[in-house]
Each structure stands twice: as structure tokens, then as C-alpha cells.
């Protein structure tokens, strides 16, 4: 019995002693951390996705406190709402940034882009891209093995089985940049969400000569330049037989969509009747021009005194 008593007394004494020592040590060697770091971290989404360029949310909080300003630091997942809270904690003005979303710049579905060989290796875009130019005639387009879907932390992407192309669910996409970094063919790109959530982009990255590109894929941009010619805002750039729309300059007039010969300029979330209206207007304009020309021709013939002939 006495053994039990002694044991309890000894252990209790040791415990108390240790507690006292630990108390003073913790006071003496306490690490002074800016309390704001914890606060900032609490408002961050805690996804540790790395979309901000920092290794994780804690690192982002540290970076924010160290920098003391927000011009270069932005959490794409939390967006402006979270950044506003962060700014409040720091007691500074919030910097508003346009929200971005990932877009897939390839429309080469199974139907549009025929397979020329069968890839039977490990299902990984990275491996396939390292091995050869791909299982279709297009050496630039989507390989369809879904590395981007694998890497997405937000379940914002899936592979469309009918087309073989990835699809971005824009409500879930946080523009963390993970898929953009992962894609070996550089098909994915972050794009400003745009006014009314509408955005215009060319869904092709094929830089081959026009005829070669079209041979491989029915919707490949062949560099016909009709979009470039019609754009009034200088927003379209032609390079290596490929059109690229600068989202900063694009005013969403929709003229380019109307004239694209392969119908491969995507107008996300733009109501179809709006595009149809642009086409209608163009047809009307063309009809007017045709009539005008016809009148002029008739007039010229009258002046010459030659017999009037209806145009064939």
C-alpha cells in the first residue's frame, strides 16, 4: 500500500516541478509572432494550393505581413472578398484585381480532329508529350489524358467523354494556375472573367502552316486573318498562322466570331441571339453594298449609252 502512496507523491511532485520549469521557460523563450499573421491566415481559404505563388496559406500570410502592402500579393481563390478582409487586418487600402478563370484553348474534339495512331502508354499527358507529338495529326493540341483534371484541387475540371477535351466548371475554378502549369502543351490559360462573365478567345494553339493545321483538325486556326482584319480595336494579334485575342483590348463587339471561317472563336456566356444579331447586321450591310454596286453599274451603263443588261 505504501508503495502506491510513495509513487503518487513522487510523480505529483515531479509533475509540479516540471510544470513550474516549463512555465518559466515558456515565458523566457517565448517566440514573438505578429498576431496579425494568425488573423490573416484565419481569413484565407486554407487550400494550400499555391495559386498565389507562395508555398501555402501560412507562407502567404507571412509574406503579406512582411510586405505590408498588397500590390503584388493576391489570393486568387479567395478573390477580392478575402483580400478586402486581409487589407482590413493590415489597416490598408485593398487592391482590387479582376477575377480570372482557366480557359481551354483547344477545340479538337474526336469529331474535329481524327486520330492517326493509338497511344497505349501510361495515361499521362506529360509522358505522352515527352514521347512524341501526339495521337492526332496536330502536334499542338490537347492530348486528352487529363493531367489537368488530376491536378485540380477544386474539382473544377472534368474530361468530356464525347469530345476528349477537358472542361472547366467556371463557378468552381479559382484560377489557382495549377492546371496551366501542368499542361505540357500549354493549352490552358488564365483569362480575365470579363464583363458580365463574358469572354472571347480563340480555342486553338496550332502554329503550323494553315493548310497543314486544317488537314489535322477541322477547327484549327489557319491564320486566314479575317478576324484580324475586322477587329476595330487592334485586339487581335496574328503570329505563326494563329490568331490570339488580347483580353485587355477586346471590347467584345463579337465581329470576329461572325467572320471566323472555322467557327472557333469561343464566346463564353454570350447569348447566341447577340451573335446572330451581328451576323444579321453584316448580311444586311453586304446586301446594301451589293445593291449600291448594282445601281452604280446600271448608271454607268446608261451614261455609256449601251443597252442595259441585267447582271447574271
Amino acid at each position: 500500500m505504501s508503495v502506491l502512496v510513495y509513487t503518487i507523491i513522487t510523480l505529483t511532485a515531479l509533475g509540479l516541478l516540471a510544470a513550474v520549469v516549463i512555465y518559466f521557460v515558456s515565458k523566457k523563450f517565448a517566440v514573438q509572432e505578429d498576431p496579425r499573421i494568425e488573423k490573416v491566415e484565419a481569413v484565407l481559404p486554407a487550400t494550400n494550393c499555391g495559386g498565389c505563388g507562395q508555398p501555402g496559406c501560412h507562407a502567404f500570410a507571412l509574406a503579406v505581413i512582411q510586405a505590408g502592402e498588397l500590390s503584388t500579393l493576391h489570393c486568387p481563390v479567395g478573390g477580392n472578398a478575402v483580400m478586402k478582409q486581409v487589407a482590413e487586418i493590415l489597416g490598408i487600402e485593398a487592391v482590387e484585381k479582376d477575377p480570372y478563370v482557366a480557359v481551354v484553348r483547344c477545340s479538337g474534339s474526336f469529331e474535329q480532329r481524327k486520330k492517326t495512331n493509338v497511344y497505349d502508354g501510361e495515361s499521362s499527358c506529360k509522358l505522352a508529350a515527352n514521347l512524341y507529338s501526339g495521337d492526332t495529326g496536330c502536334a499542338y493540341g490537347c492530348l486528352g489524358l487529363g493531367d489537368c483534371v488530376q491536378v485540380c484541387d477544386f474539382e473544377a475540371m472534368y474530361m468530356d467523354e464525347r469530345t476528349g477535351l477537358p472542361v472547366v466548371i467556371e463557378d468552381k475554378c479559382t484560377a489557382c494556375n495549377a492546371c496551366v502549369k501542368e499542361c505540357p502543351k500549354n493549352i490552358l490559360e488564365l483569362w480575365p472573367k470579363g464583363k458580365k462573365n463574358q469572354r472571347i478567345y480563340v480555342a486553338c494553339v496550332n502554329e503550323d502552316e494553315g493548310s497543314e493545321a486544317r488537314k489535322a483538325c477541322a477547327v484549327a486556326c489557319d491564320g486566314c486573318s479575317s478576324c484580324f482584319d475586322i477587329c476595330k480595336f487592334d485586339a487581335i494579334e496574328m503570329k505563326n498562322d494563329l490568331a490570339y485575342i488580347d483580353p485587355e483590348k477586346c471590347k467584345q463587339c463579337l465581329q470576329c466570331i461572325d467572320v471566323c471561317s472555322v467557327h472557333n472563336i469561343i464566346a463564353a456566356n454570350v447569348p447566341p441571339d447577340k451573335i446572330a444579331a451581328v451576323t444579321q447586321a453584316r448580311l444586311k450591310r453586304e446586301e446594301k453594298e451589293r445593291q449600291k454596286k448594282e445601281e452604280e453599274r446600271l448608271k454607268a451603263q446608261q451614261n455609256n449609252g449601251s443597252p442595259i443588261t441585267p447582271q447574271a
Binding site: 492517326t116 495512331n117 497505349d120 502508354g121 501510361e122 506529360k126 509522358l127 515527352n130 514521347l131 512524341y132 507529338s133 495521337d135 502536334a139 503550323d208 502552316e209 497543314e212
Partner: protein, 447 residues
């Protein structure tokens, strides 16, 4: 023939595997393939910078005329392999699986450049001096014909401060099925020996060893007899073990020297040339003949007429397949190179290039990749790796994109022999990931 059986044969020390050697065409003589109707000649068929095109669409060219000139030292001249008209310059798929600039020539007759000696007479007298030999080889566009296609003149220009004392002629041909070098050793042995003499003169060495795997007894016997009167040249039979024909393994087997990590054979005083290259060098130096044709083995279990063809470079692969009796039913893959290191071709019109030693037709049941499972850590890949690496770990590091660690684990020392993937009981795509890792690490270096 049995002379080589009484003592233990030389071999490399570490790892290695024993695939079934399947040399179906070992007794089939080299046969010239009928001239193709048109050729597609890529301007990059070698390691180094692409050659610069110096013809235009519509030009007429003769056989042996330079159509693309080397750019810089590590590059190679490209010659017209047929005479005719240049019909196009465009991007075309080649056996690497990627598209590169290529020159199309529509053949018209067979008109050779006058400077080329087309006779069969053997010229043993080497008139050119050391420097002239190297510049002639460079001019004639000779590159390593064993597969890697490294420009031969670069190998022969030993950097100052390095002393080379041995020349090794690689007649191992350890890849199953392939017999291009074997047939050359049997059919052009005298040319081969003059070629070796030329290389010895260019390097200033007095010792040369021809290394041949012991499954080519006829070639060993023939060359052994011929080198009796050639001071300094010896023939060495080697154990049949894959990858005996890899440069570093061959040096270790023959001379017991180890090329340091990231180093070159010249660091240990050795230069290695392949048999096919040596014959091409003989032709370039003695006959003024550029590298415009090569021996290609067309083989496979179900191929009707497995053959060794002498083919003009740029000939579409389909021509070779037709000459070998067509594509058998149930062919799963058509591979350029051997079954261990070769690469499936994605298009039947890819042209024969300087480094293409064989075309294999693999039946569907063998070509399909088996389902891959998790690593069971059996360590077999480590056991067979001839470079002493840990392939399973390199796979994981490449998969995770951990380039720094992969580099520390010497991923760049991998010779891509494929022994690890060959033995893996879980069918893991080890080599695929290591190749990816190597690409990533090389990019890291550049950045």
C-alpha cells in the same frame, strides 16, 4: 568457332538482362532495296544543331550533293540520297515521333555526283593526314550509326589535354532482332579493317579492339583471321548480355575502365565507334562517298521475308515493309530500332534516317502494354541497372517533378537501356518516367 568457349568471356560488371536474341536475319545477305520514288530527308538526323537548307523547291540535285549544310561544329551535313527534283520543304514526322523540317525529293534516274568512286575496289592506302581525315568525315556527314547518331567528327576531335590510347569498334549489336552490323562484318570485313586503320590514324592510337557478342561466331572467326596480319587490332568475344553494346558498358567489359558520371569515353582514354559507322568512314575517306545509305534490318516474328536492306536515307518505312512481304495481320506496333530501346513509329511514311538500324513488326499480343501495378519494392530494377542507379526511385522523383533530387540521384547517367522496365514484375512504366525526368532536369540546367 568453339575457340571462344574455353575461358570465361568478358562482360560488364553491373546488372544486365538476357532477352531472347531472336536474330532471324543473321544469315540473310544484305540486299539493296529498289530505289524509292521519292524521299523525305529530315535536316536533323543527328545530335546537335539542325543543318541549314541550301536548296530551293524546284532545284535538281544529284546523289551525294549537299542539300543542307552543318551549322556549327556539333552538327552534320545532309546529302541528297537520290537524284531528282526538290519538290517541297515542310514539317514532316520522323522516327522520333516529332515533326521536323524535311526536304522532299522526287527521284528521277540515279545520277551520282562525279567525285564519288562507286567501284568495289578496296583501297587500303590511306593518303589523307590526320586533319584531312576528320574534315573529310565531317564533310561527308558521317554520324554514329548505332542509334544515337552523334556526329563522328566530333568524337574524333579529342579535346586538348586528354590522351586517347584505345579505339574500340562496337560490333556487339546486343539488341534482339537487329543484324545490320553483323551482316556488315561478314560482307564488308576488309572495308571495316581499313576503316579501323583510318580511325587509328585520325586518333593517333596504335591499339584497336573489335568487341563482338559471342552469338556472332561467324563474324568473330572471320575477323579474327583477317586481323592476324594487322598489328594492333584484336578481336574480343563478349558474353551475350544486354546492354553489352552500350558505350560505357563496352569500355568496362573490354578495358575495365569506368567512364566518370557525366563524362565521356575520352576521359578514360577511349573512343568507341560502331561497325556501321566505321564502314561509312571507310567509304567517306577512301571513296569520297557521303552517308546516303545504310543497312536496315526489317524483322519480326510474323514477317514473311525478314531481311537486311541497303536503303537510301529518306526512303519511307512503308517501302521497306512492302519489300519484306507486307505487314502481317495482327501487327500491334511498328518499332524503329530494337525491341529494348526502339520507339514505335506513329506514321508509316516516316523516313529512314542515319540512326535507324532496324524496323520491327511486333504482333499485337506482344506489343500491348500490360496493366501496371504499384511498386512492390522487390529491387529487381536496381539489380539489373547497368549504371548502378535506383530506377524505382527515379520514377517516383520524375512523377513528382522533384528535379533537384532526381539530379542528385544521377538521373542523367541513365543510358535508357530499358532493363528496369523489362524485369519489373508490376509492369511499371519506369523508363518512360525516367526519360521525362531527364528532359525536366536538362531544362533545369538550361534555365
Amino acid at each position: 568457332m568453339a575457340a571462344r568457349l574455353h575461358h570465361k568471356l568478358k562482360s560488364f560488371r553491373l546488372g544486365g538482362v538476357h532477352p531472347n536474341d531472336m536474330k532471324l536475319t543473321a544469315h540473310v545477305s544484305i540486299e539493296p532495296l529498289p530505289l524509292p520514288a521519292f524521299v523525305t530527308i529530315p535536316v536533323i538526323q543527328h545530335i546537335g544543331a539542325p543543318a541549314k537548307i541550301n536548296v530551293q523547291v524546284g532545284d535538281t540535285v544529284k546523289v551525294g550533293q549537299i542539300i543542307a549544310a552543318h551549322e556549327g561544329f556539333v552538327s552534320s551535313n545532309i546529302h541528297a540520297s537520290v537524284s531528282g527534283t526538290v519538290t517541297g520543304i515542310h514539317n514532316a514526322m520522323d522516327s522520333s515521333g516529332f515533326k521536323h523540317t524535311a526536304i522532299d525529293i522526287q527521284r528521277d534516274g540515279d545520277l551520282w555526283d562525279e567525285s564519288i568512286d562507286r567501284s568495289d575496289t578496296l583501297i587500303t592506302d590511306i593518303r589523307l593526314n590526320q586533319k584531312e581525315i576528320v574534315s573529310r568525315i565531317m564533310e561527308m556527314g558521317v554520324v554514329g550509326m548505332g542509334g544515337a547518331a552523334f556526329p563522328s567528327h566530333v568524337k574524333l576531335s579529342v579535346p586538348e589535354g586528354k590522351h586517347v590510347d584505345h579505339l574500340i569498334i562496337n560490333g556487339v549489336e546486343c539488341e534482339p532482332y537487329l543484324t545490320a552490323d553483323h551482316r556488315l562484318m561478314l560482307e564488308k570485313p576488309k572495308e571495316l579493317i581499313v576503316g579501323i586503320r583510318i580511325l587509328m590514324k585520325a586518333l593517333g592510337v596504335d591499339k584497336a579492339i573489335i568487341g563482338i557478342e559471342n552469338n556472332k561466331a561467324d563474324a568473330i572467326e572471320l575477323l579474327d583471321k583477317l586481323v592476324q596480319h594487322e598489328p594492333g587490332i584484336t578481336v574480343e568475344a563478349l558474353e551475350v548480355q544486354y546492354p553489352q553494346g552500350s558505350e560505357k558498358q563496352l569500355i568496362q567489359a573490354l578495358l575495365d575502365r569506368e567512364v566518370p558520371s557525366g563524362g565521356l569515353p575520352s576521359d578514360v582514354g577511349v573512343i568507341v565507334h560502331n561497325v556501321g559507322t566505321t564502314v561509312a568512314i571507310y567509304e567517306a575517306v577512301q571513296k569520297n562517298k557521303p552517308l546516303i545509305e545504310r543497312v536496315v534490318t526489317v524483322s519480326g516474328k510474323e514477317v514473311r521475308r525478314p531481311s537486311n536492306f541497303m536503303v537510301r536515307l529518306g526512303t519511307p518505312v512503308i517501302d521497306l515493309l512492302v519489300a519484306a512481304g507486307g505487314i502481317p495481320d495482327h501487327t500491334g506496333k511498328i518499332v524503329s530500332g530494337g525491341p529494348m530501346m526502339g520507339k514505335a513509329i506513329a506514321d508509316l511514311n516516316v523516313p529512314v534516317a542515319k540512326g535507324m538500324s532496324g524496323i520491327l513488326l511486333i504482333p499485337e499480343d506482344e506489343s500491348k502494354r500490360a496493366e501496371s501495378y504499384n511498386c512492390v519494392h522487390c529491387g529487381k530494377c536496381i539489380e539489373v541497372c547497368p549504371m548502378g542507379l535506383e530506377p524505382y526511385q527515379l520514377l517516383l522523383l520524375s512523377k513528382k517533378g522533384n528535379k533537384e533530387r532526381a539530379k542528385e540521384e544521377h538521373i542523367l547517367d541513365c543510358i535508357e537501356c530499358g532493363s528496369c522496365a523489362f524485369v519489373c514484375p508490376s509492369n511499371r512504366p519506369i523508363l518512360d518516367y525516367i526519360r521525362l525526368g531527364k528532359t525536366q532536369v536538362r531544362k533545369l540546367k538550361k534555365a
